[in-house]
Subunit: 131 residues, 2 copies
């Protein structure tokens, strides 16, 4: 089952090896309440501390970023993002403790899942022909 | 953090509760070698024992099912599906042992991941407003 992997000498080591992509979404009825896009946006906001800056980091329009955050806040029991007070531009935005916890849980589950299933994931990847 | 869930009396119990959707894909370069669609197709083929029957089970054209299986077989170290010999219609198709193992590993990882992270998943779901 686990034949030795033939590594092409052209490929950077491990660069093109088959890999697992795990995508988690929290569904609320038919809508995606939380998914990889919204989590990436929260993480960008954590760094940029403004919706405009976060949108730029992700190559997204301000309008789209604003709508995603508005949708996310509405889907949660408590908002993940709030306006920061003060500052010359009226303040920017920041994550709430609830928003930080949301990222922590989401990323923790992704990593925990891969760690818990590492052996079976390696077996699954070993069934794929290298590209 | 984990406020008691307010259950709407209109909703069927648990029917509309926020839920986690986990999607796993094995990437081979930029292409999806194995994903939920191909695994569902293999499972349908396991039941129907022909590509045509599997396609019908999934509401998919024969041509699309055939192409997906061809693509999957090419991406794997060994084929997941082979023609079955004999039978009045020239045989139909069946899973190989390799194909059965692929389903077993894929579904096992999905279930193992959810089991291993059950507590954090419950915490994440509890952050979402019921619809």
């Amino acid at each position: 089952m686990r034949a030795p992997r033939a590594v092409s000498s052209r490929a950077p080591p491990g660069g093109d090896a088959p890999r697992l992509r795990l995508r988690m979404r929290v569904m609320q009825g038919d809508a995606i309440a939380v998914g990889p896009g919204k989590i990436a946006l929260l993480e960008a906001l954590q760094r940029a501390r403004s919706i405009n800056g976060a949108a730029k980091l992700l190559g997204m329009s301000y309008r789209r970023a604003w709508l995603l955050i508005d949708e996310l806040n509405a889907a949660l029991r408590e908002p993940a993002v709030r306006s920061a007070t003060g500052g010359v531009h009226g303040g920017g935005s920041e994550l709430t403790a609830f928003g930080e916890e949301l990222i922590r849980l989401y990323r923790g589950i992704e990593q925990g899942a891969q760690r818990a299933c590492a052996d079976d994931i390696a077996r699954l990847l070993a069934m794929i022909e290298p590209p």
